[in-house]
Point group: D2
Chain length 403, copies 4
């Protein structure tokens, strides 16, 4: 219920107008997020496990199913922003209705399968909370008035970036992936062995200052730094900086959830695609880590950082600490690992089996969570995944090298 | 001020959510219509003729200029539906601010040029009132819940269509176009002579019953009936009926401003493109009238009919009257005339000269007004114009033939 | 047979490679032109009027039908350039086979209907001869080596353009259109009366020198000169000069059938779209003539000029003659008339009825023929038609004004 | 020189017309392949290592550079089929000129770097020989006459497929990748250790008979079998069978290099995409092997099979042998491995460094060679790579499973 309440809280600074519009195909309206996460509980939990449950409105399944082919036809994704009806009020009533039914359900003995689906529903809603924020940012960035979503915690003072150093790791055969104790998504397992070669990993993420040096060194104009698909893309689209960057009179500004602001040189660069991250690493003489290197390196670190609960709503400069910093929170870190199934991976039967497995192609794994990831939602085994051209999430990078 | 008030009245059944979204590139959000018509007065009247007038917000010109190239850059048309800011409240405040300034202006002696621009602004706002309704219909038709805009006057009982008869007209050289007494758009003049051959014109518009006969006779599958561009279009788009038609169990239904309703067989068919109107006429063994035939035939008829003030919000069956009926109101009637300048036409100097003249290519003239045309806005010389593929307006047709 | 032989002669400077490729959707390969004009005689003449005629290859109908829906399915236009088979040799054998059958047919008494279709077939092939040349130019212009099609007659020496003067014409009701004596296309009739107002027409076409003045005066950057559709187009496409123009070190060059050559300032500008012609006329303070003004003005002039037989293969500077010059040949002249049916127009029954009528929408009429029009193919009543954005034909313009 | 001569031999059954046209963006014209492989020797070998070498024609670098950004601008790939000039004769002269210069070069002492580039040039030309054949197939398949490229060796008689069995392999840490002795592409190394789990691999490739069972079981209509990107693709494109399959009266036919022929049920299915291969494996209850499993399993097998030299020009049914068959030749086998760099991979400096590395994103590895792979060109470490949607190569699959 805390997760359910957080969704409301995140929507509160937004008018009903703000909540209905969709700025691009990848993004969804706030209202749609609020309704879809509710439909998830209705379709996968209440309809099956609460005897006598009556759906709030049968037509909502068509409106708010996202991509579950086995559930049936659904409103096409690029047109989610046309749904002025059901209204914001109707969706809020839908949420209240489903929450009440969930309370009833929780007051009884839950079968294990139901409990697992409830846990999945909570984690699912947390994922949409992060999307809600990145999608609103894409909407506000598309508007001439460049509005702010809301005020944020003041954050670290802008300063010079911490020096870049590297932490060394030995090679060997190590276990990776989730061991099944506690919640995880199906794509995090099975736990299995990976052969990892000796490597080193940067103490912190790449900063805006470093990225601006890359821009000013002609990084976006040097074909030898780029994957062919990336080079074609940045030239077709005219990309010459991260998403939301705009050159201002005195340096760069960037649209963020607080509105348009000067770039903080010491903060991690964000809103970069895999192609850009990969080109930057090549320019810098390094490479991106594999997902297994990252996971192995994170062993022993607390799974916490400047995530959504910190209130910053934007990545913060690395703290002046020894060892690896910023591993959790701030920005999602692109890895060099294609998003593929782990050995022995089997999706769950039924519609929830469509959750992760069918996307295991053409995408890359990101690790560590961001400033928009809800508290408790991140794990070292967590495998986020996006297409190499996508950059509206809080995506950044950390350098690695062979030892 | 009555015109200004009517815009508010038309927006009243709509939530702020409904008012912000745009269902397709041709359509604009209600909020945009409300703001753009207001900006028109601000930019072309108040800024020039009210000394000391201060703009409500300088950024609104970028947001709400439609197509006036000489005014400067503007928010791209396909993205009008992204403008959740300025909010609905802000736009209503903008309207109140400009209305107050207009009242101030009207309390003084108006120079002729200013009075002419005010009259243009009123007529401009009336045009957008009709668009507001057709654009909301396109939005609601795109939604799975198929909402109604509002209740409407009950209308004529559904019945059998009146028999089709023809009225004969002699040929000759006749004057057409507006004579400059009273308001008209610049594209209605200069008044000039046209050579018209003897012709006959149908007593009423083509009905849904007749259109369904065309469908059932394979009209949409018979290439010989179609212009080549039309044939390519209907096959590429899969058009097999007017826009918003859907086959229901017992006949056809059509989305209208009252929601999804069974088609009234006796009412004029509407939401057809020029291509469809032209193919229908060929199928029926007739043709469309020229704009000059239509205008000549309408001489002596009162310029009134079932327009917006009738409250029907949809076209009505022809009354059982002798002679030409439905000439004004109900549906805009496609003519066979390409929209081109009249001999001696010169657009006004300055930005308002962009109002009509620059669109004189690739479009066709429509005559007579529709069920969504505000009272007093229609004239026999009025030249409405749309591209031959467009059909989200209340467009229909009336048959003609050589005598 | 002279017409049939001319097609071969036009193809002779081209290799089989040159003859098979298609540079853009609007254009067709030479081999396709050679085969399609042959198929026209086979399908519409020999199959009906030569008893016992056996088709050369039944599969060719699918390959070489252009747009006759009533004949059946056909190879899609954009893929005409993929037909390496049938080979060039096979198509030449097809032509010889059909020519022989035509000789047989001609040795007998021809029924009137057959004679009319033969005459149509000859005129049809002449149209494709002009297209063959403009399509080869589009292919060669697309190639890095910029080859020449062949040498051409030396032409007038480049000089200063003749001064622009105007010839005055009285108004009145005049007959226009073809009277049915001798061959004409169906779209040239019926002959009928038109009301023409007093007007004046330029003595010659607009020259390259005048067009360059338009460019240098910022014509392509001045929105007020342009129709809205034209303004959008030239900005989307980046048009800043006629097709095939390229800025060279000392002025402009243009790809022509002799290869890439310096622009002749005194020659008529060519390869301009309707949008550009219309904008130029507005910039110059004039307008384009209507098709009826042009036809009326041409009365009494010999229907001849620098057409294909002149051997120039490009437009020539106006001769230093009194009165109207360049009316026939050199460049097709855009008129301000939308391509629409004349009063009482009825297409022929059957497939040949698709020849002209179904294109009467969205196009504009051009008059007078060009340097690529075969001898004897042009008439004062001839109505050529193209879309306003097309400019790969030898299209130019002549100015007009109200008297 | 044998490789150079083979290119001529492959082009011989083709007319100059056949050699100039390009059927789709992925494919290139034969003439382009002949010229590009020649340019490769000119640009990377002769210009650097043959003193006094003069280029045949400086403009050819623009025409025939493929994707070497560091070499400079080049003719855009989708327009390769427009190059009727230089002519086929000119390109053959170009080849003779370069061959003669190569002979001169070979008559001298070659520095190691030159010898390595010559070897790369030979292997490069072999790759283009395979592409030449698959690209001609795509061209001929696009033509209504469905021509044959040439006759082929008669092949095994069509029969019932051999039963499917599996060969078991133990797990462990094994070395994979090329060890640097003899020629290999840079992407095959460095040789390194991989952890492989116990697995089993099918004795032969999936056959047409098995694929038709998949079709008839509704494989293309069952969303649960498909990756999301694949499901979207097959529905957008209407794919319901392998490329070139057409349903005939009595079963399926498929376009091949011998023209349109009935499908051989016992032969390996070919012209399937990764998406289809992956869906088939899921339907069959298996999976695709990783590239490392495939390479490990092939240890000890002779690197030979029904490749280009066999003269079949199409995949053949598996021989009735024990153990793994068809590992080399017949069809390229999709693996489940994303095409990514091996640990420690570094592309060569300079333009040849663009050969492989910049494509390491969004593609999958294929192993084993096909019926169109030149003799001696295949190795167990060879990593071919294509996008998951591509299927105009001779692509098939072999099933695998965890042991």
């Amino acid at each position: 219920m805390a997760t359910r309440a957080l969704s409301h809280e995140l929507a509160e600074p937004l008018s009903d107008e703000d909540q209905v519009v969709q700025a691009m195909d990848d993004a969804s309206p706030t209202k749609w997020h609020l309704a879809h996460t509710t439909w998830f509980f209705e379709a996968f939990v209440l309809s099956q496990f609460l005897p006598g449950y009556t759906r709030f409105d049968d037509r909502f399944e068509y409106c708010f199913n996202s991509y579950y082919e086995s559930v049936g036809a659904r409103h096409p994704r690029p047109f989610r922003g046309l749904l002025t009806r059901p209204s914001g009020d109707a969706v809020r009533a839908y949420r209240a209705y489903v929450d009440e039914a969930l309370e009833t359900l929780f007051s009884r003995e839950l079968p294990d399968e139901a409990a697992a689906l409830v846990e999945l529903g909570i984690n699912h809603e947390q994922q949409h909370q992060e999307l809600l924020l990145t999608d609103i940012l894409s909407l506000f960035a598309s508007q001439p008035l460049k509005p702010a979503y809301r005020d944020a915690a003041p954050g670290e003072p802008a300063g010079t970036p911490d020096p870049l150093t590297f932490v060394d790791f030995d090679g060997g055969v190590f276990e990776v992936g989730h061991d099944g104790n506690g919640f995880s998504y199906d794509n995090e397992g099975p736990r299995h062995e990976q052969l990892i070669r000796p490597f080193k990993l940067a103490n912190r993420c790449v900063t805006n200052a470093e990225w601006i040096a890359f821009i000013e060194d002609g990084g976006y104009e040097t074909s030898a730094l780029w994957l062919a698909d990336g080079w074609n893309l940045i030239n077709a689209e005219g990309w010459r900086a991260p998403l939301y960057y705009e050159r201002a009179e005195d340096g760069y500004g960037q649209m963020e959830l607080r509105g348009f602001r000067p770039v903080n040189p010491a903060a991690p660069v964000t809103h970069v695609s895999y192609y850009e991250a990969d080109a930057f690493a090549r320019w810098a003489g390094f490479r991106l880590p594999s997902e297994f290197e990252w996971e192995h390196a994170s062993a022993g670190l607390a799974e916490q950082g400047r995530t959504l609960g910190s209130g910053f709503l934007r990545p913060q400069a690395a703290p002046d600490d020894a060892g690896l910093t910023q591993m959790f929170g701030d920005v999602w870190e692109w890895t060099a690992s294609a998003y593929l199934p782990y050995p022995g991976y089997k999706p769950a039967p039924g519609a929830v089996g469509e959750y992760n497995g069918k996307f295991m192609c053409n995408q890359f794994v990101l690790k560590g969570g961001s400033c928009a990831t809800p508290e408790g939602h991140i794990r070292r085994t967590y495998r986020n995944f996006f297409y190499p051209q996508q950059r509206w999430q809080f995506t950044g990078l950390r350098l690695a090298a062979d030892a």
